[in-house]
């Protein structure tokens, strides 16, 4: 024969059921409060005007690139109409158009590969933060590998890579062609698909990136891609000191 629990025991049980979640609740609230307080302490008084300056300059750059593209198009139009005036002009224009294509100053369409590079997400990344995040050197290695594989055109997050392109890192911010970027990075490569896939699949190449992908969860995926459209390079040519011989 079973006996019903006493009222005191029932109240004790109910209290314990509520006590545990209450303790957890209080713990989480206090940790959350501290984390928020730490973040506010990190925002030193100079950061706000510096942040505003950086964002303003990036916005200015975006607008300047549009103006530059419009002026280039205007001059191209003038040149193209003028080139009909003589064979010499036509020949010059043809050579200019050819050089612009190989130099990355024209849009480019074609098939190739897509490479995604991203910071690790999740528990694997906790082992070693440095090894689980993208670095600018990862992007330079990926671009180097693409040229090695016979690429004809490359773009990183819509920035065309040309002979003057740099991939730079300041703090945790990466700049490509002087444009601020953050992961994930989509690298589009136009070129011979089989050769490009083979160069990225080669186990002796990009060993550091592949190892960090396998152990630390760094995001790195290469896939075949068709119908790619790469924009032209929109920055300054900046040829001031060099003259052709």
């Amino acid at each position: 024969m079973t006996t019903a629990p006493s009222p005191e025991r029932t109240r004790l049980t109910h209290s314990l059921v509520l006590l545990l979640p209450a303790v957890l609740f209080g713990l989480l609230v206090s940790v959350q409060w501290r984390t928020q307080a730490e973040r506010n302490e990190l925002t030193v008084r100079y950061n706000t005007p510096l942040l505003d300056a950086a964002k303003t300059l990036q916005n200015e750059q975006n607008a300047l690139k549009v103006t530059l593209a419009e002026l280039r198009a205007d001059l191209d139009q003038i040149q193209t109409s003028a080139s009909t005036q003589s064979d010499a002009a036509k020949d010059l224009q043809s050579r200019i158009d050819g050089l612009k294509t190989v130099a990355g100053l024209n849009e480019r369409a074609g098939d190739g590969v897509e490479i995604i590079l991203d910071d690790a997400r999740g528990a694997a990344a906790a082992k070693d933060v440095e090894k689980s995040i993208c670095h600018n050197t990862d992007l330079t290695d990926i671009v180097n590998q693409a040229w090695r594989g016979g690429a004809e055109a490359i773009a990183i997050n819509d920035e065309r890579i040309v002979g003057s392109s740099s991939i730079y890192c300041v703090g945790s911010t990466i700049m490509v062609n002087g444009t601020l970027m953050s992961p994930p990075f989509k690298v589009l490569v136009i070129g011979p698909q089989n050769e490009l896939l083979a160069t990225y699949d080669d186990p002796t190449q990009l060993r550091d990136i592949k190892q960090r992908r396998d152990i630390y969860g760094l995001g790195f995926r290469v896939s075949r891609a068709t119908g790619l459209h790469l924009p032209p390079y929109r920055g300054a040519l900046n040829v001031r000191f060099a003259t052709p011989k």
């Binding site: 959350q32 530059l68 040149q79 005036q85 010499a88 130099a103 740099s166 945790s172």
Partner: protein, 218 residues
């Protein structure tokens, strides 16, 4: 009623716990990238970089406006636009590495242990410092150039072997590139720490002659 109130209380607390737990886990992202988390020193460097790029684009905009006006006047005056076309061709030949090139710049001499990734990084830094044309020994670096190594430790540029000691020559502003390479914490300083025993020398040059790309681009 009292047991219902108890259930409701537990449910509400559990709900709050769930929300807080998820928020806290999300807040513990291993790495968070945001301009807001950069130090003032990094932000200052970013601002300097952006400023420089923007000024270069503004200069080119001014130059293009002038050239467009000149081309229009020349055509309207019956002189044609060959001058502008020749100027554009000249600029593009340098930009694409398709012509031998001369101009002031710097030379970075490397004697000792070095590898293809370091060479790639050095070229990247020179480009970031505004290098307009680069050559490694007698091999021009072009828009599609890649760096590798041979089995016997020679470095390669576009599959052409370049043996040490290496001379990396860059045409561009000598002062800007020299400072970029040799500043405290810059790439030469980093190389000196990593490649102990390797000698790195950077010199300003008033006149450099660089060859054209060995294989023209198509």
């Amino acid at each position: 009623m009292r047991s219902n109130a108890g259930v409701i209380s537990v449910t509400i607390v559990a709900l709050f716990l769930g929300v807080l737990a998820v928020t806290q886990i999300a807040a513990q992202d291993v790495y968070s990238r945001s301009l807001q988390l950069e130090t003032p020193a990094s932000l200052t460097t970013l601002i300097a970089n952006l400023s420089e790029r923007n000024n270069a684009i503004k200069d080119e905009i001014l130059d293009l406006r002038h050239r467009t006006d000149t081309a229009r006047e020349a055509i309207a005056g019956g002189k044609g636009s060959l001058t502008e076309a020749e100027r554009q061709l000249s600029q593009l030949r340098v930009f694409a590495g398709m012509s031998a090139t001369s101009g002031a710049g710097i030379t970075v001499r490397v004697e000792g242990a070095f590898d293809e990734r370091a060479l790639s990084d050095l070229v990247n830094e020179l480009r970031n410092a505004g290098a307009e044309a680069i050559a490694v020994n007698s091999v021009r670096v072009g828009p599609r150039s890649w760096f590798g190594a041979t089995a016997d430790r020679a470095l390669t540029v576009d599959s052409v072997a370049v043996r040490g000691p290496w001379q990396v020559r860059a045409v561009g502003s000598p002062e800007v590139m020299y400072v970029a390479m040799t500043r405290t914490g810059g790439i030469i300083g980093q190389f000196q720490l990593i490649y102990k025993g390797t000698r790195f020398d950077v010199t300003r040059e008033s006149a450099l002659d660089l060859p054209a790309l060995a294989t023209p681009l198509r």
